[in-house]
C-alpha cells in the first residue's frame, strides 16, 4: 500500500515547501547573527559572514559560566528526579490500598497548581535558609516541582508491567530494595528515557524560576544570561541572535543525537 506513486511525489514537494517556510525564521536567525557590520534587516545571505557577534556574545554575555551552571543544574536535578520519582512510583503502582490511591491523587493534584502561587512564600523560606542565588536551591525546586508529572509517567508504566519478574526475584530471596533497583528499574528503561528527556528540556529551558531565585546574585543560567543580555544590547540583533544560537545549541545537539528515541519516547510517555 505504501508505494511511491505520483501522488506521493506531489505530497513530497508540498511538504518540502512547507518545511522551507517553517525553517525560514531559522535562516533569518543565523543570517543576522553572521552579519557583524550591517544594521538593517536583510534577507539576502551575508556577503562576508563573520563570527565576531558570537565572540562578543560569549564574552560579554558571560555565557561560559552560565552554560556550566545549566549543565550542573540539569544533570543533578534530572538524576534526582529519576531516582526519587521512580522509587515513589513503585509502592504507588503496586499497593492497591486506599491510602496509596489517595497519595497518588495528592501528587496528581500538583499538576494543577500554578508555580506562581508558591513562589513568594518559598522565596522567604529559601532566603532564611540562604539558598537564594545558589544553584542547589534551584535543584531542590525542580525536584519538588517535577514530582507529579514524573511520578504520573512512572506509575502509568509500572501498572502495565507484569509482576512475574518481581515475584520470581522475591522468591529467590531478594530484599525489596534490591528487587526494585536490580529487577524493576531496568525494566522501566523506556519510560525512564521519557522522564529524562522531558525533564531535561524543562529544566534546561526554565526561565522564570532562576529569574526570581538567582537575580542579583551574579550566578546565571543560560536563559537568564540571554535575558539580561537582550536587555543590554537593545536592537543589536546580530549580537543578540549569536547569544540565542549559543544558548540553544547544547539542547539541539542533545535532541539531534537522540531524536529517534525522543520523538518515540515523547509521544509514548504522553500517551501512557
Amino acid at each position: 500500500m505504501k508505494r511511491y506513486t505520483l501522488k506521493t511525489g506531489a505530497l513530497e514537494v508540498v511538504m518540502i515547501v512547507v518545511a522551507l517556510l517553517f525553517a525560514a525564521p531559522v535562516y533569518v536567525l543565523i543570517n543576522t547573527a553572521l552579519n557583524s557590520g550591517g544594521v538593517t534587516a536583510s534577507l539576502t545571505p551575508v556577503a562576508n559572514p563573520s563570527f565576531d557577534n558570537f565572540a562578543t556574545a560569549w564574552v560579554s554575555g558571560g555565557l561560559g559560566p552560565a552554560m556550566v551552571n545549566n549543565v550542573v543544574i540539569t544533570v543533578v536535578s534530572v538524576f534526582l528526579i529519576v531516582v526519587i520519582s521512580a522509587s515513589a512510583a513503585y509502592p504507588l503502582a503496586r499497593i492497591t490500598r486506599t491510602w496509596s490511591k489517595l497519595t497518588f491523587a495528592f501528587f496528581l493534584g500538583g499538576l494543577l497548581i500554578p508555580g506562581l502561587l508558591a513562589l513568594i512564600p518559598l522565596y522567604t523560606t529559601f532566603r532564611d535558609l540562604h539558598l537564594i542565588g545558589s544553584i542547589w536551591g534551584l535543584v531542590i525546586i525542580y525536584v519538588g516541582a517535577q514530582m507529579p508529572f514524573s511520578i504520573f509517567l512512572y506509575v502509568q508504566f509500572l501498572r502495565s508491567l507484569p509482576l512475574d519478574f518481581e515475584e520470581a526475584a522475591t522468591l529467590d530471596g531478594g530484599s525489596p530494595f534490591r528487587v526494585f533497583w536490580q529487577v524493576v528499574f531496568p525494566l522501566m528503561r523506556p519510560i525512564t528515557g521519557t522522564v529524562v528527556i522531558l525533564n531535561t528540556i524543562h529544566v534546561w529551558n526554565d526561565f522564570f524560576t532562576p529569574l526570581l531565585y538567582l537575580s542579583g546574585s551574579g550566578t546565571n543560567t543560560i536563559p537568564i544570561a540571554i535575558y539580561s543580555f537582550t536587555g543590554q544590547y537593545v536592537n543589536q540583533w546580530g549580537t543578540i541572535f549569536a547569544a540565542l544560537i549559543i544558548g540553544v545549541t547544547p539542547l539541539l545537539i542533545f535532541y539531534f543525537l537522540l531524536q529517534r528515541s525522543i520523538i518515540k519516547g515523547f509521544a509514548g510517555g504522553l500517551k501512557g
Binding site: 536567525l29 534587516a41 508558591a118 513568594i120 511520578i151 525522543i262 515523547f266 501512557g272
Partner: protein, 322 residues
C-alpha cells in the same frame, strides 16, 4: 525500509500504543489482584512526599492564604480582607480583559496548533522520502526555550523586521505593518508564534497515534474502494481519538498558562491588548506590590485550568468510547 519497521523500536521495550492499551486493561483488572503488591515497601514514597510537600504543597497553601489579605509582598504587616480580592478580580476591567484574552489564547492555540499538527502528521506518515528529516525538523522548535523563540519572532515581526522586508521585496508593501504594535494583530501574532513552536509537538503525538493503526485496516478499506477522505474520516479519525484527547488537553492548558512569550514580545501591550492572566498576576505581584490581589488572580487561573481540563477530559473520553 517499510513503514512498519520504522514504527517498531529496535531498542526493545513495548511500543507506546501497546503500553497505553495494556495500561488501560491493567487498571481495569487491577482490583482483582489485590494483595500481590504488598511487597513494594511503602517507605519508598518518603523522599518524594517530603520534597513535594515542602516545595509545592506548603508554599502554595501559604500563598493561597495571601489571597485573603492585602499583603504587598514586602512589608511585615498586612490585613485580612476576606474575599475582597476575588470581588475585585471580577470588577476590575483590566482583569476582565485579561480573562478574555486568556480564553482567546487557549482556544486559538488549541484549534490552530492541532489542525496544523494533524496535517503535518498525516504528511510525514506517508511514503515520502524526506519523512524522517521532516519529523526531526518540525519537532525541533519544541525543544528550544520559549524565551529564544519569542526574541527571534519579536525581531521578525518588528516594523523594520524580516517579515515586512520580505513582503516589500515581493511587492506586497500594503501588508507590511507593525505586527506586535497593532492592538488587533498582536494577539493573533503571539498565537502564531506559539503555534510555530509547538505544532511539531502535536504532530509527534498524532504520529504515534497514526502508527498504532494497523496497516491491514487501510488495506481492507482500499479493497472496499473507500476514497482517501472517507478512509480518513471513518478509520483514521476515530482511531486517533486518544491522541486527540492528549493534544487538546496539553494545548488548552498551555494556552491558559501562556506567559514567557507575552512578556518578551509585547509585555502585555499595546495598551493591555495581549495581557494574559499570568502576565497581570506577575505584574501585580512584582511591579505593583499587590501580592494579595495577584494571588487571587492566580487562583482564578487555577480554577479555569481545573474546570476546563475536567470538562474537556470528560467530553473527549465520552467521544473516545463511542
Amino acid at each position: 525500509m517499510t513503514q512498519r519497521e520504522l514504527a517498531s523500536p529496535r531498542a526493545g521495550g513495548p511500543e507506546p500504543s501497546a503500553i497505553t492499551r495494556s495500561a488501560i486493561a491493567e487498571s481495569r483488572t487491577r482490583s482483582r489482584r489485590s494483595g500481590t503488591g504488598a511487597r513494594a515497601p511503602w517507605w519508598f514514597l518518603l523522599p518524594a512526599l517530603a520534597v513535594f510537600t515542602l516545595i509545592v504543597v506548603i508554599p502554595s497553601w501559604r500563598g493561597a492564604f495571601y489571597a485573603l489579605t492585602n499583603w504587598d509582598g514586602l512589608s511585615p504587616q498586612f490585613d485580612f480582607v476576606g474575599f475582597e480580592n476575588f470581588v475585585r478580580v471580577f470588577k476590575d476591567s483590566a482583569a476582565g480583559a485579561s480573562i478574555l484574552n486568556t480564553m482567546l489564547y487557549a482556544v486559538g492555540v488549541m484549534v490552530v496548533q492541532n489542525f496544523i499538527g494533524l496535517l503535518l502528521a498525516l504528511g510525514v506518515n506517508s511514503a515520502i522520502r524526506s519523512r524522517n528529516w521532516l519529523r526531526v525538523l518540525f519537532f525541533a522548535p519544541a525543544v528550544v526555550t520559549p524565551l529564544v523563540v519569542a526574541n527571534l519572532w519579536q525581531y521578525i515581526l518588528a516594523p523594520e523586521g524580516a517579515l515586512n522586508t520580505a513582503l516589500r521585496a515581493v511587492g506586497l508593501d500594503f501588508l507590511a505593518q507593525d505586527w506586535l504594535g497593532n492592538a488587533q494583530l498582536a494577539l493573533p501574532a503571539i498565537i502564531s508564534v506559539v503555534v510555530w513552536q509547538f505544532a511539531g509537538y502535536s504532530m509527534v503525538i498524532f504520529l504515534a497515534g497514526l502508527q498504532s493503526i494497523p496497516e491491514d485496516v487501510y488495506e481492507a478499506a482500499s479493497l472496499d474502494g473507500a476514497g482517501s477522505f472517507k478512509t480518513f474520516w471513518n478509520i483514521t479519525r476515530p482511531l486517533l481519538a486518544p491522541s486527540m484527547t492528549i493534544n487538546l488537553m496539553l494545548s488548552l492548558i498551555g494556552g491558559l498558562k501562556l506567559f514567557d512569550q507575552v512578556l518578551i514580545m509585547t509585555q502585555g501591550g499595546p495598551g493591555s491588548a495581549t495581557e494574559s492572566l499570568s502576565t497581570i498576576a506577575y505584574k501585580d505581584a512584582f511591579q505593583f506590590q499587590q501580592f494579595g490581589y495577584s494571588t487571587a488572580l492566580t487562583l482564578v487561573l487555577t480554577a479555569f485550568v481545573a474546570v476546563a481540563s475536567l470538562i474537556q477530559f470528560t467530553l473527549l473520553r465520552r467521544g473516545e468510547n463511542k
